[in-house]
């Protein structure tokens, strides 16, 4: 690993990954990765396809179990914890392929995220009217207010991406893991998207985002972690990572050595 930055005086660590490895039938998708996600900032994971970025998300959220290593959320290990429990601890995510609740309306997609509802009779935080009010606010903020009654399946592409964001906004999570949320958006939409994200960080949300578009990476990142072939190659301030010729040659596929 290149020692790019020591980052002195950086904010508290919310999630710590220590020597994490995940192999699938002997192939290491993630290999000995150690990484801290710090509170109140946007950390961007960059790297070529197959670098292990999404696998890292799946390991954090419990959708996959690590082969070895540890993941600590606020100093408690969460390895082996069920995904729905990790979500309730405060880690929410989006999916690269969105995984919207496709036969439900936009309104229901957001509402159901606010409801735990493991039991028929389970009481919820706040009244039904308050939840409905909050759903409308979120739809307003994501520009979906006119599509509340539309089935998720019937939305246009950009609207689907924003619904994926609306859903995560409805959680009470402290940390958001966003898997390529801006890919395929036109320039105007991603301007809206960046503004939305900045607003959420100001609200105190910690974000870790996988992103390929360098323009977006530059405009949103507080820190960048660079992965390649399952390994963390560098971790530091955006200028240091993006200015490093060795890393950019890997990213742009000019690997010779």
């Amino acid at each position: 690993m290149l020692q790019v930055s020591k980052a002195p005086g950086s904010p508290a660590t919310l999630l710590e990954i220590a020597n994490l490895t995940k192999s699938f039938d002997g192939v290491k998708a993630v290999e000995d990765v150690s990484l801290r996600l710090r509170e109140g900032i946007i950390t961007t994971l960059v790297g070529p396809n197959g670098a292990g970025k999404t696998t890292l998300f799946n390991l954090i959220t419990g959708h996959l179990r690590p082969t070895s290593g540890d993941i600590r959320w606020q100093d408690e290990s969460i390895v082996g914890t069920a995904p729905w429990k990790i979500a309730r601890l405060g880690v929410a995510r989006t999916f690269q392929d969105l995984r919207l609740f496709s036969h439900m309306t936009v309104f229901e997609n957001v509402l159901t995220v606010m409801e735990k509802s493991a039991w028929f009779w389970q009481s919820e935080a706040g009244s039904g009217a308050e939840r409905h009010q909050r759903v409308h606010e979120i739809l307003e903020a994501t520009g979906l207010q006119h599509n509340a009654g539309v089935r998720a399946n019937d939305l246009a592409y950009a609207e689907r991406k924003f619904l994926s964001m609306a859903r995560i906004m409805a959680t009470k999570a402290k940390m958001w893991l966003l898997d390529e949320p801006a890919s395929g958006l036109d320039p105007r939409s991603y301007e809206r998207f960046v503004t939305l994200l900045r607003g959420e960080v100001r609200r105190g949300i910690t974000i870790c985002i996988i992103e390929h578009n360098l323009e977006i990476v530059v405009s949103i990142s507080d820190r960048i972690s660079f992965l390649d072939q399952g390994r963390l190659l560098a971790d530091g301030e955006p200028e240091e990572i993006l200015g490093n010729p060795e890393l950019s040659s890997i990213y742009f596929g000019e690997r010779n050595s």
Binding site: T61, A87, R93, R99, F101, M104, E108, K116, S117
Partner: protein
């Protein structure tokens, strides 16, 4: 003639309850069970056994049947938590075949192949429902209760969680849904209420045997749900009405010899299913899909 129509209407009510409960797990939880007739049978056998051994009191038969069917539903819920889609269909098919064997072999409880005869009509607070018209009323009220309760659940936060799981299990997990518990509860509800239909069936016919609870019955119930429209409120009821009345209607065709009705019926079913899948793949009430 009246007696004949009352009989058909009663069977429609019972089949509608079966279709609604199957639709609850197929349409809202995404669990495609080919073992629904097992729980129909469990309800019927429990009611018959209690009626013949102890009491004809409906309000004792119902909770016993629901509880036993709901408990046995763990046999369905466990594979449903592990596998999805085709694999679960195969698992439920295996369970159905196994249960039918138990129904026909466990002679001391089920009466074996011959079944149980002379089941007394159900009674509530000492009033016996021996008059078919009164029994139709009982079946109709039960159906109405099932419709209201199922609708309320589907529209509740629990129903939304169920639909979320159906549409994307991994996303539901990522948003804090306890998928295993929600699926288990939904299967419990579906099978327990399915057993209610079994209780009514045994008390109504006063005779039951394994033939009503085989894979053929499970297939028919699934056909009702698919014909009517999976995941719709009225679809399973429409499907139950059509597929219950169709065989009766065929007997009125004058040019059909009595002996041929069975095979003609199968051909009509088959043809109707093929045409439906071509022209209305979401079922007759399919346009309403996705609504609660």
């Amino acid at each position: 003639m009246i007696a004949y129509l009352v009989n058909l209407a009663t069977l429609v009510c019972i089949n509608a309850i079966l279709a609604i409960t199957l639709n609850f797990i197929m349409g809202y939880a995404g669990i495609f069970s080919l073992a629904h007739a097992v729980f129909f049978g469990v309800g019927a056998y429990v009611a018959a056994f209690i009626a013949l051994q102890w009491t004809d009191a409906l309000l004792l038969q119902l909770p016993a049947a629901m509880l036993i069917a709901g408990t046995i539903s763990a046999a369905l819920a466990l594979p449903a938590l592990r596998v999805r889609g085709d694999y679960f269909v195969a698992a439920s098919l295996g369970f159905q075949v196994l249960a039918a064997t138990v129904f026909s072999e466990w002679k001391s409880v089920t009466g074996g192949i011959g079944g149980l005869v002379g089941i007394p009509p159900a009674s509530i607070a000492g009033h016996a429902f021996s008059d078919p018209v009164q029994f139709l009323g009982l079946a109709g009220v039960t159906l109405a209760l099932v419709v209201v309760l199922t609708r309320a659940i589907v529209r509740s936060s629990f129903g939304r969680s169920l639909k979320a799981i159906r549409d994307s299990e991994s996303a539901a997990l990522a948003f804090g849904k306890n998928v295993a518990l929600i699926k288990t509860l939904s299967v419990f509800y579906s099978t327990a209420v399915c057993a209610v239909a079994g209780v009514l069936y045994a008390d109504y016919l006063s005779f039951i045997n394994v033939e009503s609870f085989t894979i053929d019955a499970s297939t028919l119930f699934m056909a009702m749900v698919i014909v009517g429209g999976i995941g719709t409120v009225w679809g399973p009821i429409v499907g139950a009405v059509l597929l219950t009345l169709l065989p009766a209607a065929l007997t009125y065709l004058p040019f059909l010899p009595r002996t041929e009705i069975g095979s003609v019926q199968q051909m009509v079913y088959g043809l109707a299913m093929v045409l439906l899948m071509i022209f209305k793949p979401d079922g007759l009430m399919g346009a309403k899909r996705g609504e609660a």
